[in-house]
């Protein structure tokens, strides 16, 4: 069996709020191999960012991993003391954030911020570190890297800042790179540049990537396998081709149909999922999607569906009662003759 870089098992994360504790991520399980890219897709508040922040253990004072384990490189990190975690964070696991405008410190030069990280984790001298930082900046396609390194973040455009973030994130050669909406704040042409860059760097370094996005287009471009999250849970999991060719969960299907494709016929009415995402304080009973689902039955309103494996597929799993019979029937017949 191949070694997984990251194994997340039944992760549950809760936050303390004024109105009591809320569980923002529940029963999230996935594995990530070396060099593999996993995409996490979902709407705002579905828990995709919290999942990634839990891997970084950056949940703040109010957040807490309640249940489950996160194994990074074979090591359980949920209980790791903070000083050991600091050795991993930024070094073996690094992260690119959504807002390149706010995630760089405005009062320090680019070089200053890069050198801090490189010297801390890689034990280089000042001049070595500087040369290395310039190298990294060149690698991510920053022109005039020797001058840019002494500039302050406000001098750079959004795309440039995101390149600097990527250079910083990759400078310690991490085993795992978490990219939380890395291109959401950027224009489409710049987004295309950044995605190309990430693909190129992934090929060179064999880094595992966790990419989080609300944009199915970005996920289709980048990911090998995909988790679709809704209201804090994984509702569907599959490799990228299976997911886009044959989505199963009503939410995934709805999500895909509600994007106006470039090939979309403009006379046709756009499909939209009725209603809104439920509030964390008031999660519906049973399936969390049932209020917005057109296939919902009695069972959906009362019982929580488990993550069911679609028969005849490798790792296509879906959290929906609709596929329960299919699973049982398919268990009876060994052949794949199930009517979808």
């Amino acid at each position: 069996m191949e070694n997984n870089v990251l194994e997340v098992d039944k992760l549950q994360v809760a936050f303390r709020t004024d109105k009591g504790e809320v569980v923002s991520v529940d029963e999230v399980t996935f594995q990530l191999k070396q060099g593999e890219t996993i995409g996490i897709v979902g709407e705002s508040g579905c828990g995709k960012s919290v999942t990634s922040l839990s891997v970084m253990r950056l949940l703040g004072r109010t957040g807490q991993i309640k249940k489950g384990t996160i194994r990074f490189d074979g090591k359980e990190i949920t209980q790791l003391p903070e000083d050991q975690m600091r050795g991993i964070r930024g070094n073996e696991i690094s992260m690119i954030f959504q807002e390149p405008m706010t995630s760089l410190n405005p009062v320090f030069s680019i070089g200053n911020q890069m050198l801090e990280l490189i010297r801390l984790h890689m034990k280089m001298s000042k001049s070595e570190a500087r040369a290395y930082a310039i190298d990294m900046l060149k690698k991510v396609g920053i022109p005039r890297a020797e001058q840019i390194i002494d500039e302050y973040p406000h001098k750079l455009s959004g795309g440039m800042r995101q390149r600097v973030m990527i250079a910083m994130a990759l400078s310690c050669k991490p085993k795992l790179l978490i990219a939380d909406e890395p291109t959401t704040a950027l224009d489409v042409t710049i987004q295309a540049q950044i995605l190309e860059l990430m693909k190129k760097l992934r090929q060179e370094s064999q880094t595992s990537i966790m990419i989080i996005s609300h944009d199915l287009g970005v996920i289709a471009e980048m990911a090998d396998k995909v988790l679709v999250m809704y209201a804090g849970q994984v509702v569907e999991e599959a490799d990228v081709f299976t997911l886009f060719d044959d989505p199963k969960h009503p939410y995934t299907i709805g999500l895909m149909e509600s994007i106006p494709h470039l090939e979309h016929d403009s006379q046709q009415k756009l499909y939209s999922i009725p209603g809104t995402v439920p509030h964390l304080h008031a999660m519906p009973k049973g399936c969390r999607f049932h209020q917005r689902c057109q296939h919902a039955t009695e069972q959906c309103t009362t019982q929580k569906p488990p993550l069911l494996t679609i028969q005849g597929s490798s790792g296509h799993r879906v959290r929906c009662w609709l596929y329960q019979e299919e699973e049982q029937m398919a268990a009876g017949y060994s052949q794949n003759e199930v009517i979808a």
Partner: protein, 328 residues
């Protein structure tokens, strides 16, 4: 689809519109230059149609929208709405014109006053324009809430109690309550989640049919635009580089920038991930100091000598393009 031939008279004509913002420096705030946010654009919108204005951030698309509704009056050029020059209007006439010309803003979180109840927010435009008696206001507000998919029970609530999509519906209701002819939609779905975007786009489309509305739809993404617009104008650095029917823009783009935009759009189909495409290099130049000649030449894969020297004009054809070497 609007029948362009039956309605030869445009509802809105924009002529040589320019909007410059001064750059002031020093203790006496001397003007040292101008940011040429919009630098001479022309277009017409016909009754019942949707014209989309598409471009990257800083291309001047929102400035154009604001200049049209006279929130930021243009530096030069004319905005002619229903045969009247907006700049020449004053007092009561301007007020009247403003009821016909409404705007929906991008950010549903900051465009509603957090201290006012929804009922008051929606009644305000009616009272300000004296379009309804106090006694009728409440009923009109109820009606409009129904139309945008909310209920009259929402009237006594405050904006923070609503989700992004619902707030955008309130923004739409606020524009719609004055029964305008033209609505400038300034990125109305950009801040919303995918599943909510579709709801709001459908609502806008239904309202257009029901009330014969005309839209100027401003967007940075091509997806929503494809769905809602009849014609698309592509802007780059304060100028329109291409203007054509939606179908033509998507099927046979003529400006290299339009093509690059189409190529850059991530397609939600993993089988197409290794498709051939042009990835544009570099960033959008600074609008305070735009490049000479064609403004796109610094990033254009086809740029030649003439592109650096001469600014190409937008052709007068139905598929208008501003390029020395348009694609076929």
């Amino acid at each position: 689809m609007p029948k362009l031939s039956e309605n030869p008279k445009p509802l809105l004509v924009v002529e040589k519109l320019k909007k410059y913002y001064p750059i002031n420096k020093g203790i006496i705030s001397r003007t040292v230059g101008h940011v040429k946010a919009v630098d001479g654009i022309d277009f017409q919108i016909y009754p019942g149609e949707t014209l989309a204005l598409v471009g990257e951030s800083g291309c001047g698309k929102s400035t154009t929208g604001r200049a049209i509704v006279q929130l930021d009056p243009p530096t030069e050029g004319r905005v002619i709405f229903a045969g009247q020059d907006m700049a020449a209007l004053q007092g009561a006439e301007l007020r009247k014109a403003r009821t016909d010309l409404q705007i929906i803003f991008q950010d549903p979180y900051s465009s509603l006053n957090p201290r006012k109840r929804i009922g008051d927010l929606l009644a305000e435009p009616l009272l300000a324009h004296k379009l309804a008696q106090k006694s009728e206001v409440s009923q009109k507000v109820d009606e409009i809430l129904e139309i945008v998919g909310l209920t009259k029970y929402h009237k006594s609530r405050y904006p923070h109690e609503f989700s992004g999509g619902q707030r955008q519906r309130i923004g739409i209701a606020r524009a719609l309550i004055l029964q305008p002819k033209l609505i400038v939609c300034d990125e109305p779905v950009s801040a919303l989640d995918v599943s909510i975007q579709a709801q709001v786009l459908n609502l806008l489309k239904d309202l257009q049919k029901e009330f014969q509305l005309t839209y100027l739809f401003i967007a940075h993404g091509l997806g929503a635009v494809k769905y809602i617009s009849d014609r698309i104008a592509i802007m780059y650095l304060g100028k329109i580089v291409e203007l054509a029917k939606t179908q033509e823009i998507f099927q046979s783009p003529r400006h290299p920038y339009t093509q690059a935009l189409l190529h850059a759009y991530p397609i939600p189909n993993p089988h197409l991930r290794n498709r051939e495409r042009i990835v544009m290099e570099g960033d959008v130049p600074n609008p305070a100091n735009p490049p000479m000649g064609c403004r796109f030449h610094t990033r254009c894969p086809l740029a030649k000598e003439i592109c650096r020297e001469q600014t190409p004009d937008l052709t007068k054809t139905t598929h208008a393009v501003a390029c020395h070497f348009p694609l076929v």
